[in-house]
């Protein structure tokens, strides 16, 4: 696990991302410089289509910039092999998606265990640690339930537990409050905020909900692919 405070988990330097479709070019991000440090919660605020998700996917190395440089743990994204990037995501990154994206055919405990298996943690250790993570968020009693039987609030806690279970250095959350009622939405941000404080994790939240601002160490506004 990388906990060197001199290395940013992810950094974009003057990044432009252009998508081409049927000969038409769309500029999703334009000349964006952005970085996230460990132990801070950064909020990316912007309306739909402003480029928030594109920025997150660049931070995770799912895409390469059209121009500029993207670094993950101090190394250019292009310099990683696909398997090295996969390992980084499995061991160093946690993800929270708008609809939580839990695997419906797996029990709650298995959902959390799975990411640790991806990180190469032995099954027995992974299950024990997954159980501890679920307990931490007060949902240990739901370990053997299937996601389909959980409330939205319970699902969000499972999603957070899954994101931190592998000892991530950075969590990327895409509209984590989008499908939740206000109260539940703020609860998930509190969980993430707690992880920043307790575990020193760097968290990037992409959202259009400016009520999250009060939890953020930094707030950036994105509009039409330009970071304001």
């Amino acid at each position: 696990m990388i906990r060197d405070s001199n290395i940013f988990p992810a950094e974009l330097i003057k990044v432009t991302k252009v998508f081409s479709r049927s000969g038409n070019e769309t500029v999703a991000l334009s000349n964006v410089s952005f970085r996230v440090s460990q132990g801070e919660l950064v909020l990316l605020l912007g309306p739909s289509g402003s480029g928030k998700t594109t920025l997150l996917t660049l931070l995770a190395g799912f895409q390469e910039p059209s121009q500029g440089e993207a670094y993950i743990f101090g190394k250019r994204v292009q310099d990683y092999s696909p398997s090295a990037l996969q390992k980084i995501r499995a061991c160093q990154m946690g993800f929270i998606f708008q609809t939580f994206c839990l695997l419906d055919s797996l029990r709650v405990l298995d959902n959390v265990t799975l990411v640790m298996k991806f990180a190469g943690i032995p099954e027995k250790t992974a299950r024990r640690h997954a159980g501890e993570c679920l307990e931490r968020f007060g949902i240990g009693h739901l370990s053997n339930e299937y996601p389909g039987k959980l409330s939205q609030g319970e699902k969000q806690r499972v999603a957070v537990a899954r994101a931190i279970a592998n000892g991530s250095s950075m969590i990327l959350a895409d509209e984590p409050t989008g499908s939740l009622a206000t109260e539940q939405g703020m609860a998930i941000i509190e969980y993430l905020h707690e992880s920043v404080r307790k575990d020193g994790i760097g968290v990037v939240i992409a959202s259009h909900d400016d009520r999250i601002s009060k939890f953020a160490d930094r707030v950036h506004h994105l509009r039409d692919g330009i970071l304001i």
Binding site: L56, T57, Q86, R89, C101, L103, D104, F118
Partner: protein, 366 residues
């Protein structure tokens, strides 16, 4: 196991697929059983004969297909050859017989019941021939036409009484029946004709040398030692209708591959979102392919177990309702089909494996 959980989620489809696989495998097992059953039965008469040398008419090479005509005088010549201990004349010809409400063809074998040479390899019911007006039928033939011991069977201008039933005499397309040599000649209308001589050699003599000696006394003879003649007949049996069984089995295997491939592709499409999530969360490159291959192997193994259970029932049913079909099953055949199934499983995984390669983690962010 995640692969099994995905399959079991749609349990009705899972069950139908397993049974579909099982039916294809049963077809393959059944065709193999027929192949081995017929191959064995076709040559059992030759294999269980105690003849050291077979003498036939020039150019004739086997009993199954081909005509061989010799005369009694040839026997006198063969008997004189050094190393020959005894000879047994046998006459083969195909005849149509009247069976209850029908007619049927049989391969009649005329032999000398006093020596028993050239007779049925095994009598499973009744007795051997005592008189010229008796006949021994193949067990499957008798069962098919519901003929019992003691029944009368009109053949050409004669009527013979069923004295016994034999096994190892079912050639699948036709069956052997045994009568006395004299009766055979009478039915055929040529008093001194015969098809071959089964030769016993003197103890200590070399069959190949004796065969060479017989060959040298007359250009009319085709002379074979025991092993060569057996191989000739096996070759004839296996190049007859048998390749057709392989073609049908191959078609079954292709259908099974297509079926599995289709089903696995459907599972990949249904799990597209889950696989995209896994890839986004950092699933190692081999994780999802392993799930696909595991699913293929689970479906194949499940189908194999069901197929083996049903195959036993099917064999018994076939023996009961269609006794002329010779089918022999063995562990070796099951292992052959299992090995084929393993290959089919891996082949059928190729298409869904290619499909899953085009699932991207970015899909989760849409």
């Amino acid at each position: 196991m995640y692969a099994l959980k995905i399959l079991a989620k749609q349990y009705l489809r899972f069950t139908i697929t397993i049974f579909g696989v099982a039916l294809c495998l049963m077809l393959m097992l059944f065709l193999l059983a027929i192949y081995y059953g017929v191959s064995d039965a076709s040559v059992r008469y030759v294999r269980e004969s105690d003849a050291d040398i077979w003498v036939m008419q020039r150019h004739a090479a086997n009993l199954l297909r081909g005509t061989s005509l010799l005369t009694s005088s040839h026997g006198s010549v063969i008997s004189q050859v050094p190393g020959v201990k005894s000879i047994a004349p046998v006459l083969f010809f195909t005849a149509t017989v009247n069976v209850p409400d029908n007619t049927a063809s049989m391969h009649l074998v005329g032999y000398d019941p006093r020596t028993g040479k050239g007779g049925p390899p095994e009598i499973v019911k009744g007795d051997t021939l005592r008189n010229d007006d008796q006949i021994i039928l193949d067990y499957a033939f008798a069962a098919k036409y519901r003929i019992k011991i003691g029944d009368k069977l009109p053949i050409r201008d004669d009527t013979l009484t069923v004295a016994g039933l034999s096994e190892g005499t079912n050639l699948f397309v036709i069956q052997f029946a045994f009568i006395t040599l004299d009766e055979a000649r009478k039915l055929l209308g040529f008093p001194s004709v015969l098809s071959c001589y089964q030769v016993k050699i003197e103890p200590g003599s070399d069959p190949l040398s004796v065969a060479k000696n017989i060959r040298s006394v007359s250009p009319d003879f085709a002379v074979y030692d025991r092993l060569t003649f057996l191989n000739n007949n096996i070759h004839e049996a296996e190049t007859g209708v048998m390749p057709l069984l392989y073609v049908v089995a191959l078609i079954g295997a292709i259908v099974l591959t297509a079926l599995l491939s289709l089903i696995l592709s459907v599972y990949v499409l249904e799990q597209q979102k889950d696989y995209a999530i896994m890839k986004a969360l950092g699933a190692p490159a081999g994780f999802i392919p392993r799930i696909v291959v595991q699913q293929s192997l689970i479906l194949a193994a499940g189908g194999m177990v069901i197929a083996i259970l049903l195959f036993d029932l099917m064999l018994n049913a076939v023996k009961r309702f269609s006794p002329t079909i010779s089918a022999e099953s063995s562990v070796r055949q099951i292992l052959i089909v299992a090995a084929g199934l393993l290959v089919i499983s891996l082949l059928s995984s190729i298409l869904p494996l290619l499909r899953q390669r085009h699932i991207y983690p970015l899909e989760v962010f849409r």
